[in-house]
Amino acid sequence: MEEIRLIEIKEEILSDNKDLADGLRERLSKNGIFMMNLMSSPGGGKTSLILQTIRAMKDDFRIGVIEGDIDSMVDAETVVKEGVSAVQLRTGGFCHLDVPMVTSALDAMDLESLDFVIIENIGNLVCPAEFDTGAHLNAMILSVPEGDDKPLKYPLMFTVCDVLLVNKIDYLKYGEDFDLKVVKERALNLNPEIKIIKISCKTGEGVDEWINWLGDRIVS
């Protein structure tokens, strides 16, 4: 019988993407561009938050948006109406964005004319958490109707994000499935560094706090 031998590898499976992500981050920084990766469940309010962010920041920063979607152009069309540039990435079934996909979108943008790029990732709390996009900041939204158990169900997402936006807080009065205190405890439990901001993209509550916090990150 032929002899079986072991070859030690000890290599990160996603090291290719990680290396590319570090390279992209560096390239963007050199060009004075700050990139944010926004993640949430479908319907969590990613597009609404992006619209609010654009409205509040477009006089201070030149903004570009990368819209990840399985197969539609709806979000890019909505964002372009706000007067910023947008590229729609249709992933054709892929559940997350990775660096090669983000890079292909950036190649289609005029980076010389941008200071701030927002990635709207695919609506999903599972897969986007595993793939570094090359962004400088990872933001996630958890909206009130989704329930306060999400940090327990999707812990990885909460561990990779710098900021958690608790959206649709105007719905807090309707249900008892969402205890803000519990969400804070559960999120901080997984990631003591995570910044938590309450917001309602509909009523505008909390938007100022978000914009101030984000503005400080972009400038520094």
């Binding site: 070859i7 030690e8 590898i9 990160e12 599972v126 595993e130 997984l190």
Partner: protein, 116 residues
């Protein structure tokens, strides 16, 4: 849900090392994947079987070891393991500290390949 691109990476890394080591066939691949990952072992194997057809890795078995979720207490600096089912209360068993940093449970690692 994203087993396919991950499996593709596993196959590529294994083939790269096999090719530089004069290998006839890859028999098995040992992986270490953190418990926080939602990868489903069975699907990784199925995708692997599909992707590895007509390569020297065809028929290789994936041996997946799940590494536990480990936190380190920010106060007393002791490390401790946390059962995923009990992740809602991460409290340091040594000093009761509630501020803890995740140090393991997210890894995605190929340990070795067994080859002929």
């Amino acid at each position: 849900m994203h087993e396919l691109p991950v499996t593709e990476s596993i196959l590529n890394i294994a083939l790269k090392h096999a090719n530089s080591n004069n290998v006839e066939r890859i028999v098995s691949i040992s992986l270490r994947i953190g418990e926080l990952s939602d990868l489903v072992n069975e699907w990784v194997q199925r995708y692997f079987d599909y992707l590895s057809k007509d390569t020297i890795a065809e028929g290789a078995k994936l041996d997946i070891e799940r590494s536990p979720v480990v936190f380190r207490c920010d106060r007393c600096e002791k490390s401790f393991q946390v059962d995923l089912k009990k992740i809602k209360e991460v409290i340091c068993p040594n000093c009761g500290g509630k501020k803890n940093t995740l140090i393991s449970g997210r890894e995605y690692y190929i340990k070795n390949i067994a080859v002929i």
